[in-house]
Symmetry: C2
Subunit: 184 residues, 2 copies
């Protein structure tokens, strides 16, 4: 992938997280890169094509991380996962799910399906992490691991949304108590 194309995707990712998919425009990308909007359309004919590339990049990042963390104890894996959210919080970002889920009904069918895939991938990873971690006595929690995974994911997702409105202390308080509850 060309350098310009990578910059476009990276900027689009940032814009989705800060302004939302429907609120950013090609001008928000072409201006900082000092090109014309036609240049963006050359790389990504439609806005949906651009959104798809952002989602594909995020999915690859998820796979890379889970592979990279595979040998770590599960509690450390979860702390790494929280660290990704912490970094986004510090950068004023929300997560892609938190940004795209409210806009879901306005997205192209392709993007809807990809968002679905992303949600399923995250849920699957988190469920496995919690299940294995409990088996290895590194977590303690009641109930089904899949249900617990949904709780943890929703905590982290909304911690970034709430931090937007209430300040970054929301993320700190949520992530700290979350890990303590699990005994991590």
């Amino acid at each position: 992938m060309s350098e310009t194309k990578e910059k476009i995707v990276s900027l689009a990712d940032k814009l989705i997280r800060v302004k939302g998919f429907n609120a950013f425009s090609y001008k928000d990308i072409s201006d900082p890169l000092q090109v014309k909007n036609a240049a963006i359309h050359y790389h990504f004919p439609t806005k949906s094509d651009l959104g798809m590339e952002v989602l594909d990049k995020e999915l690859r990042s998820l796979e890379e991380n889970s592979a990279k963390w595979k040998k770590l104890p599960e509690d450390e894996q979860l702390i790494k996962f929280c660290g990704v959210f912490r970094k986004h919080c510090n950068n004023g970002n929300v997560c892609l799910m938190g940004s795209l889920a409210p806009d879901y009904e306005t997205l192209s069918p392709e993007m809807q399906q990809k968002v679905q895939q992303m949600a399923a991938t995250i849920l699957e990873w988190m469920t496995g992490c919690l299940e294995q971690g409990r088996k290895h006595k590194r977590f303690r929690f009641k109930g089904d691991a899949g249900d617990r995974a949904l709780l943890v994911i929703s905590n982290l997702q909304s911690s970034l949304l709430l931090s937007r409105v209430l300040g970054p202390s929301a993320f700190n308080r949520i992530s700290r108590q979350l890990l303590e509850d699990l005994g991590a």
Copy 2:
């Protein structure tokens, strides 16, 4: 408030929850009400004015509910609160915070301040409910009640976002486990 004006606000509320604030247009309101967009602008000169009315209505609804539930045991109050979210889930809605927080940076300063106020109001109510409920032995949980309130709010908020993508089982699983954790 005139009947038309109320219909406009009610429809705007629905549109914010389904499509997002930046994705809906005056046409989405004027068409179903069979009026022209100028009629909407007569009642609400700017889109921000309309958004403010939706937020004010939600704040009044929050105050009404908390007053109406004041005499109930705290666990029943929380179940009532979850019921509001359940209803939204069944209607394909997300909550106002879940919709407006991702768009926060694109909102007018007035709306930003009102969203902040709404978040603070919800957090305050939930903190009090949990704190009193624990004192009265109707909840059991560890740590600060304010931290726990943030966790519960983020669970409910994201349960609607995830239900958009993964289907309504996400809400059911999250709300059920959430109440069980609290011993409610």
